[in-house]
Structure formats: C-alpha cells, structure tokens
C-alpha cells in the first residue's frame, strides 16, 4: 500500500509547494512556489530534507490529516503553528520541531498566530510528479502539486518514505520573533517616473494595510492612493515577484508568487528579495510600512537574510521525542492519554 497522508479536513487553502517553477515565464507560466520560502525551507531542514523538497503550504486555517504509513517524521514551521494530535484528548505537540507520528494517528495543524501561512514538511518529501520541473501547485492554471489544485477531504497525498528514519528530533527552543511589524524594504521602480512626487513620498511615509483582497497572486493594499502623473497604462513588460503595480484607481497591488509574468500597469516599486517571505506571511488587516533602499543595499540584505537563516538552522538542537515510540503506541491503544509531553 502506498504510504500517504490522508486529508480528513482540507483547511482553507492547502497546496503542495516547493521553491518555484523557473524557466517558463517566457511561456507565460508564473513561478509559484512557497509564499514564505523561509518557512518552507526551515520545515524541510527540520525534517532532514533538501530545501526544494515539496511541502504543504497551509493558509490561515490548517488541515486535519491521518497518517497512512508505518511512521512519518513531520515538522511545521511558520508563526505559532503547531501539530495537535487528535483523539480522546487533543494533545499539542509543538511547532518549529520535528517529531515522528504513527499509522492511524490523526493530527491537525493549528494556531498559525499572526502568520498567514505555515509549512508542513515530511521526511523524504511528498511523492508528487514534477510538472515543468517543479512540484509547486499553480491552482489557477490547474497544474503542478497534487492534481493541480488545493487539497480536498479524502485526498491521499503520497509520501516518498514509508517509515521515519532512526535519528534524533530537532527543534528551536522558541519560535523566531514575529515579523508582523517589520518595515518592508523596497527599491523604487521600474516605473517610478509614472508617479507624482507626492505619491512616491506617500509610499514610504504613510501606512498601508493588507486588504481582504489577498491571495497567492497578490495583495491589494488599503491606505493612501498613489497618483499617476499622467497615464496609468504602459505597454506591457515583465513583472518580478514583489512588484507593486498601481492601476487607475491608485490603490496599489503587491504581487506575490502566483503573479502573472507580464502586465500593463506601471510598477512604482519592488519589494526586495529578502523581504518577499516577510510580506508573504502578512494577512488581511496587517499593517504595512515601506522603507526605500537602493539595489546594492537590497543585494546586501539578501545575503544577510541568508546568513540569518543559516544561524537559525545552526541553533537547532535535539529535542525529546513526542512521548517516545512506546507512548505513541499506548496512546493509539487508548491505554493512556495525556502523558507528560513536557517538551511540547
């Protein structure tokens, strides 16, 4: 029998993602991939995977899953998300750590806290066929990931491994600090000359917030409108992830991983690569303040973010198994419940 995680409840929007689909933008194919590549990569490191291994991206409200494998090592990373074992008495097993779960155990990813997304990695990864070189789901196009769509109840998401390897569990002593209030750095342009001086000033002086019109394609921002000098149509050109385009309404749209590859609205600025994961985890209602930097500074900040990621990975330390094998079995058999899981 194929080893799998069975979807008992799908959550709001749960998709298979990796670090993105590159090389096909000239065919009009968006990059897709994890909204928060930091969380995706961290979950993979916890599970012992390469950074690009497919994970489940969980938006806002987590899924409930059942283990249909002898055992599986899982890890969630993102916000305050944790794994909650369901049963007679639900049991919080924590987040930002790895753990082994066993056949027929049912768990839920709960409590994302102030993050829009979190990532569930499994040791060995999910066994989905790459599409155009990537496991990422592009739901609008109906391809990639698991059948080109978000997960639904009843789906069996296949696993590469049928049991967890024998190794110590890893975890962070505490979750990384929230980035909800952090200013988002951007570089003006490529079409800043389409905007009034007042608009450029408002962009970096005033506060915006994420409107309810937000998905993997982009987020419309509430707040001050940004006036064009003259025209709000340009002859279409390319779009980078993080570009802030401003249509005729003056209401900016910050483009995220599923954005279209080309477009005809002027882009007042582009969020720097280091801060794409930071905006990726903002949710409707969250404040957004921008700060302008130049390209060399953006590149330096990207290197700095990478160094910080590795520092955090180096801080991973062994943690106790969740109750240990025997306890997990006993739990299954309902002989005990609520043993002392003091590390959870």
């Amino acid at each position: 029998m194929t080893s799998a995680l069975k979807v008992v409840a799908a959550g709001l929007h749960t998709t298979v993602q990796d670090l993105g689909r590159y090389g096909y933008q000239a065919s009009g194919v968006p990059v897709s991939g994890a909204l928060d590549a930091f969380g995706h990569r961290f979950a993979n490191r916890l599970a012992g995977n390469a950074d690009n291994a497919p994970t489940l991206e969980i938006l806002f409200h987590g899924p409930t899953l059942e283990v249909q494998a002898d055992s599986v090592r899982v890890a969630v990373a993102g916000g305050e998300a944790e794994i909650e074992l369901l049963g007679d008495r639900p049991l919080s097993l924590g987040g930002w750590r790895s753990m082994v779960l066993h056949r027929n155990q049912v768990f839920r990813v709960s409590g994302l806290g102030d993050a829009a997304c979190c990532y569930l990695a499994v040791e060995g990864g999910f066994a989905v066929e790459p599409c155009l070189g990537s496991a990422s789901t592009y739901a609008r196009g109906g391809f990639g990931g698991f059948e080109g769509r978000a997960l639904q109840a009843g789906d069996l998401v296949p696993l590469v491994r049928d049991h967890a390897s024998d190794r110590a569990e890893l975890g962070l002593a505490e979750p990384p600090p929230s980035t909800r209030e952090q200013p988002i750095r951007l570089v003006l342009g490529p079409q800043q000359d389409y905007f009034t001086d007042a608009a450029l000033e408002r962009l970096v002086r005033e506060q915006f917030s994420v409107s309810k019109h937000a998905d993997r394609m982009g987020m419309r921002l509430d707040g001050p409108t940004l006036a064009h000098r003259d025209s709000y149509n340009i002859v279409s050109d390319g779009i980078a992830t993080g570009a802030i385009q401003v249509p005729g309404s003056g209401q900016p749209i910050l483009l995220l991983v599923d954005h279209q590859t080309t477009g005809g609205y002027p882009k007042i600025a582009t969020v720097i690569a280091a801060d794409i994961p930071v905006v990726g985890r903002r949710k409707p209602g969250d404040p957004i303040r921008f700060a302008a930097v130049d390209v060399p500074e953006a590149e330096r900040l990207r290197r700095e973010a990478e160094a910080e990621f590795e520092v955090l990975v180096a801080r991973l330390a062994p943690v106790k198994p969740v109750g240990g094998l025997d306890a997990a079995r006993l739990f299954d058999m309902n002989l005990i419940s609520g043993v002392v899981f003091d590390d959870a």
Partner: protein
C-alpha cells in the same frame, strides 16, 4: 539604439529598448534574449521578452545587478547572431456566428461588414511579440489599422479557451478559461498550452502566425482530433 537599464529591486534587471509595440524593437529584444540565454551568464534565472524590453530575472545570492549589467552590455555590443528556429503557424479559426460573439459589435464599431472584418483579420501574417497574461497567451500584431479598437468596456469574467480576440493593435488567443476584456471574433479548436509539451506554449516569441478560416464541421473534427492528441498544427520553419 540606446537602451535603458531599469531595476526591479534585486530580483530583475530590465533592458528597455523603447516604449511602444514595434517590430524593430521586438526584433532587438528577441535577439538580446537569445544572446543572454546562449551566454548562460552566472546567476541569471531566466529571461522574459516583452514588446519593448527584456526582463532578466536573477538570483542576488549568485550575482549582482552591477555584474549583470556589465555582462548584458557586452552581449549588446557583440555582433554574434544566435540562430533561433522561428516558425510560421497556420491556425484554423472558425468565424461563424456561434464562435464569434463580438464579431457584429466589432463590425459596427469599425463601420465594416463582418465579412470585411474576417477578411482583414485572416489576411494578415502576425508576429508573436510575447507570451504573457496567462500561460501560453500570445500577443500578436499588428492588426490591420481598420480593426484597431480599445478593449471592451465590460470585461468578461469567463472567456472560453480557444477564443480568438482583438484589442488595440493586437490579436490573441485565450489558451485557458480566464477573465478577459478583448473582443472575441472567432474560435480555434487547437490547444495553445500543454504542460506535457516542451516548451508548454505552442508559440514562441518571434514566431509568425496566419489564420485559416474553417467551418463549424471542420472545427468539430479538429477539436475531436486535438482531444485525442491526434492533431498537429501545421507549421513551417521560417528563414532567418
């Protein structure tokens, strides 16, 4: 021609050749795209040609805008021509009433007979400027002057796949069910985007396209053959 280098933060460098849809500009964009691809410059993730610019996506951990611009300037100065196979596609299209919801309104707006709209649209060889908007969507031009219209006032929420459309100086085909604001003047039974093909978009920027009018019966036959994966769109290689 002087080019402008624009930055999209530390994610992409845009090489801008002009500010309009123009064949001469497009040829320069495509030639630079071919050269940058052939040079396999370190840190370049991919290049995307558009009407008037080449977007060079890069990995800021592997290169910098400064080094990238220096490499692109070298590529611009080089005279070497990279031979890219360009194709001429013959695309079957049905202009009959049921397949062309906006043909009459286009005829009214352009003060032409519907036959004349069809004759002008099918009588032009188009240049594929770029693929964008949705996977496989080709922007092709230029339309006969008499057919140039602004986009529809009311964009549709659903445009069926295969719809052949016009707006401004361009004609396009919707490969997937998507929203759209262009005028729909015909439908093609062929498939423009297939994730199992390499590359997945049927047309590449720089290709040429001609439309071949067909009736509803031929449409049904070709669509059925397409669904059986038993239909190849007619094409020939273009001389460089």
């Amino acid at each position: 021609m002087a080019v402008k280098f624009l930055a999209s933060a530390d994610s992409a460098v845009i090489v801008e050749f002009g500010d309009r849809a123009d064949r001469a500009i497009s040829d320069q964009v495509l030639a630079l795209g071919d050269r940058v691809r052939a040079l396999a410059i370190a840190g370049v993730v991919e290049v995307v040609p558009t009407f008037r610019s080449l977007m060079v996506h890069y990995d800021p951990l592997r290169t910098s805008a400064q080094d990238l611009i220096a490499a692109i300037e070298k590529a611009l100065a080089s005279q070497s021509v990279f031979d890219r196979k360009r194709r001429l596609w013959r695309v079957p299209i049905c202009y009959e009433r049921d397949f062309a919801p906006d043909l009459e309104s286009v005829a009214r707006a352009t003060k032409l007979a519907t036959d004349e709209v069809v004759r002008l649209h099918a009588g032009t060889r188009y240049h594929v400027y770029m693929i964008g908007f949705v996977p496989g969507f080709p922007y092709m031009g230029d339309l006969a002057d008499a057919l140039v219209l602004p986009r529809r006032v009311d964009p549709r929420i659903h445009v069926p796949p295969g719809s052949v459309s016009i707006a401004t100086t361009q004609t396009a085909i919707y490969p997937l069910d998507s929203p759209g604001g262009w005028h729909l003047i015909g439908t093609t039974p062929i498939q423009l985007f297939d994730v199992h093909a390499e590359p997945p978009a049927l047309f590449a920027p720089g290709d040429a396209v001609e439309f071949e009018p067909i009736d509803a019966r031929a449409f049904a036959q070709i669509r059925a053959a397409t669904e059986r994966r038993d239909y190849r769109v007619e094409s020939t290689e273009l001389a460089a």
